[in-house]
């Protein structure tokens, strides 16, 4: 039995060492020239560091990246606004930890999490792993071991990209140039995705909308019955609110936009979820969930990404909610 245990330990050690070595090899690349969407985290982190207080930080996934005009919100709030939204599957826990590290007196943190953040879907996934290998500084924003579980999964694609990076750089760059908005340079200086607003993206936008309509025709609205990670997400939000409060920052949560078909399929579950949030959340919750409902025709290529018209409407919705909530700085306090 001892000999078996010794052999198994040796094998485990070999496998562990190989995985560690491969992880290092996967992380060793200069991502400055990488055009992929997730690499925008590096640019966003750089910009975030340069912002002083007071500022308004918008925290969430790609619903934020696509759905708001931060310039407009900046004008309304009277302080620099920065959109941290990138990808929902990074997970709420990491997003909050990143924002928390940069909060100062007078700051406002507006959290707009996708509903899935309360559904035990995004706690540590491939996207987070890709992000960590791209932006190793992000390791300090991890809050659980579970967030690390997908590291081995990212190794092969990363090594593959690293190995062929020099050979295929030109082709990869060309491919990303062809992608209308899922690329690193799709963002503006406030962190909003704006590539799809540019006049030259009109054709691609039309094609994407047509493709989405076709796919939606055979698709049922997602059912959101089980908010089975709700307690944990709410706990995370409450801790975030407490830490922010101790630093003199304010926090507030808003719901993301949702299509009418999805809402109608889940109205009961969503209203019950909202009512639980109102009683459990240690930060104000803006507006009822029913106000976030938009017509399906205003959505682009996912359940959350809006077309330009939807983006404008959502921005105005957020602006009026934030103004009514008293989050705008008095005139003259502008940075």
């Amino acid at each position: 039995m001892r000999s078996l245990l010794a052999k198994l330990s040796l094998l485990s050690l070999g496998v562990g060492a190989s995985l560690a070595g491969l992880t290092l090899a996967a992380a060793m690349r200069d991502y400055d020239g990488d055009p992929s969407f997730i690499c925008a985290v590096v640019d966003k982190a750089r910009r975030l560091k340069s912002l002083g207080s007071p500022k308004a930080l918008f925290i969430g996934g790609s619903n934020l990246a696509f759905n708001q005009d931060s310039r407009r919100l900046e004008a309304v709030l009277g302080r620099p606004a920065f959109n941290l939204g990138l990808h929902a599957s990074i997970g709420l826990s990491w997003m909050l930890a990143q924002a928390e590290a940069h909060l100062g007196p007078g700051d406002l943190a507006v959290v707009v999490p996708e509903f899935e953040q309360f559904q035990n879907v995004y706690e540590g996934g491939v996207t987070l792993t890709q992000l960590l290998l791209t932006y190793p500084e992000g390791f300090r924003f991890l809050r659980s071991w579970r967030q690390l579980r997908t590291i081995p999964e990212a190794i092969i694609p990363r090594l593959e990209t690293n190995l062929f990076w020099r050979l295929k750089k030109r082709r990869v760059l060309a491919e990303f140039k062809a992608d209308p908005w899922y690329r690193r340079d799709a963002f503006d200086e406030r962190g909003d995705v704006v590539a799809h607003l540019r006049p030259d993206a009109a054709g691609a936008l039309r094609l994407a909308v047509e493709k989405e309509r076709r796919a939606a025709a055979g698709r049922r609205p997602a059912v959101m019955e089980a908010f089975d990670d709700e307690a944990k997400a709410v706990r995370g939000l409450n801790v975030f609110a407490a830490v922010a409060g101790s630093r003199g920052a304010r926090t507030v949560m808003a719901f993301p936009c949702i299509s009418r078909t999805t809402f109608e399929a889940n109205a009961g579950a969503l209203r019950a979820f909202e009512s639980r949030l109102r009683s459990e959340l240690a930060m104000p919750l803006l507006g009822p969930v029913a106000d976030c409902v938009l017509e399906p025709a205003l959505f682009l290529d996912s359940a959350y990404h809006l077309l330009p018209e939807g983006r404008a409407r959502n921005t105005e919705r957020l602006a009026s909610l934030l103004t009514a909530g008293g989050y705008a700085l008095p005139a003259g306090r502008i940075y």
Partner: protein, 505 residues
């Protein structure tokens, strides 16, 4: 607790170490406690269902043995009623209720019974069938009633096969709980190898393929014929690797501790007929259905049909056909409370019946075409046809609804014309690579492993590349092979938590 989870990675070595450290007389209490922990990791309160099943069947077994005449049947039916009652309540109540509500709606009647919407206890169908096989065997006099409630409880709860089988028979398992199981290096390492192989099939192949399959089956209307066809074939591979992988882990983990569980798979996709397929697919269920449903039905129908022929067809065909169709309807319903499963069962039942009825005719055609002179070609045709039929069944089994299944089946052949252009191939390749995690190398490795699997299993069936042979390799080669298998499993697997498909049944 999932076999492919960190929890099990900690749980199993601890239980195994304790198992070998304790005296044999402590093995049953240890395994019983470990099995309770294993089951309660899913939903602790549901252990009460198992408790009721255990108490009922334990006493039913004793009373059946002590009783005579009709009383024996009474105790048996009581046990069956409790077991089937649980199954019916938890698994089928909402299904029948919804359908009755639909019928009432069509007739313009009100239907006041609300849906229960309760979470199905994991592995309910498996341990219910295993518990039932005990009382039936005691009733038939082929098994003595178990006197120790702890041993009987362990028979129902034994953690390696608790949630997805194999559905064991009392004759095989009960006696093993009383036998000593000292540490045996060869047996333990063989069990570990089987577990590693099962984990590879489950994590590296099944879980990776499911990413593409799920995407296609979630909205089939968004995909063309070749994509639907590819997803269907990959689902056939996925479900096999998922379930046979689970069975390998179950068999391996039991073997480490010295228990022999029944083999659940025997190269089902190499079958030349549906009957052969069912002799190799989920053997513990198909043999359960054969022994406790099909054969009694055949006897019952034979009593009812005394004549040689009915409507010009031999009565043996009527009897076998009717028994087969009923058995496979139950088999379909066993898999899930949905019309897709019922239709899947019906399809297999009809297929088997058609195979039986046309057997002589097919032989004559093969002779007339000279196919009997080239048995390899005939076999290839048979295997290809059987696999295609099974895949049609998998479409119905996997689809979210009968409407989706119908859409997929009627569009499998559509859109092939576009594949004259390279762009269509590139789009299919890109969709496959992207859905499987965005790495061409990994996608290629997984598909290669999936394609190589039949060859590996064919070699194993011929006694080559078996675990026993592996033990004769030089040490460095063996450990390199283990290292490669471990690394391949870890690097190819997706890490989002995925259940075994059969857990839901």
């Amino acid at each position: 607790m999932l076999f492919n989870s960190i929890d099990f990675l900690a749980f199993f070595p601890v239980v195994t170490a304790l198992f070998f450290a304790l005296r044999p007389s402590r093995h049953v209490p240890l395994l019983l406690a470990a099995s309770c922990v294993f089951y309660m990791a899913f939903r602790p309160a549901y252990i009460l269902i198992l408790l009721v099943t255990i108490v009922t069947d334990y006493f039913a077994g004793l009373w059946i043995e002590r009783s005579l005449g009709r009383r024996r049947a009474l105790w048996l039916w009581l046990s069956v009623a409790v077991n089937v009652g649980f199954l019916g309540f938890f698994k089928y109540f909402d299904f029948f209720n919804d359908n009755l509500r639909g019928v009432a709606g069509i007739l313009g009647w009100g239907w006041p019974v609300p849906a229960l919407s309760i979470v199905l206890p994991i592995g309910l169908s498996f341990h219910t069938f295993q518990a039932m096989s005990y009382t039936i065997e005691v009733y038939r006099g082929r098994q003595k009633a178990e006197t120790s409630p702890w041993v009987f409880a362990l028979y129902v709860l034994f953690f390696p096969q608790l949630v997805a089988g194999p559905i064991e028979r009392p004759q095989n398992l009960l006696a093993q709980f009383r036998a000593p199981h000292p540490f045996d290096y060869r047996r333990v390492t063989d069990g570990l190898k089987l577990m590693a192989w099962g984990l590879f099939k489950k994590m590296a192949i099944a879980d990776r393929l499911t990413l593409f399959v799920d995407q296609v089956y979630a909205s089939p209307a968004g995909f063309d014929g070749p994509s639907l066809l590819l997803a269907t074939v990959l689902f056939a591979v996925q479900i096999y690797c998922d379930f046979s992988g689970y069975s390998d882990i179950a068999l391996g983990s039991a073997q480490v501790m010295g228990f022999r569980l029944m083999r659940n798979f025997d190269r089902p996709y190499a079958a030349g007929s549906l009957a052969e397929f069912w002799r190799g697919w989920h053997i513990s269920l198909s043999s359960w259905l054969r022994d406790y449903l099909f054969l009694p039905l055949v006897c019952r129908f034979s009593d009812m049909m005394k004549g040689d022929r009915y409507l010009g067809v031999r009565s043996e065909h009527w009897i076998n056909g009717a028994a087969t169709i009923v058995t496979f309807l139950v088999c379909g319903l066993w898999h899930g409370a949905d019309w897709t499963f019922v239709c899947w069962g019906l399809l297999h039942g009809l297929g088997l019946t058609a195979g039986l009825v046309t057997r002589d005719g097919r032989k004559a055609v093969a002779r007339a075409w000279g196919l009997d002179r080239v048995p390899a070609l005939r076999r290839l045709w048979q295997v290809g046809f059987t696999f295609s039929f099974v895949c049609v069944g998998w479409v119905v089994f996997r689809a979210r609804s009968m409407a989706d299944a119908w859409y997929i089946l009627t569009h499998l052949g559509a859109g092939f014309g576009a594949y004259a252009q390279a762009e269509a191939w590139a789009a299919l390749k890109s969709s496959l690579v992207m859905s499987m995690g965005g790495s061409k190398v990994r996608c290629l490795l997984v598909l290669t492993a999936a394609a190589a699997l039949p060859a590996v299993e064919a070699l194993q069936a011929r006694g080559i590349a078996t675990r026993e042979n592996l033990a004769n390799w030089p040490a460095w080669m063996r450990w390199t092979a283990y290292y490669v298998l471990a690394m391949a499993t870890l690097l190819l697997a997706p890490y989002a938590p995925t259940q075994f498909i059969y857990f839901q049944f």
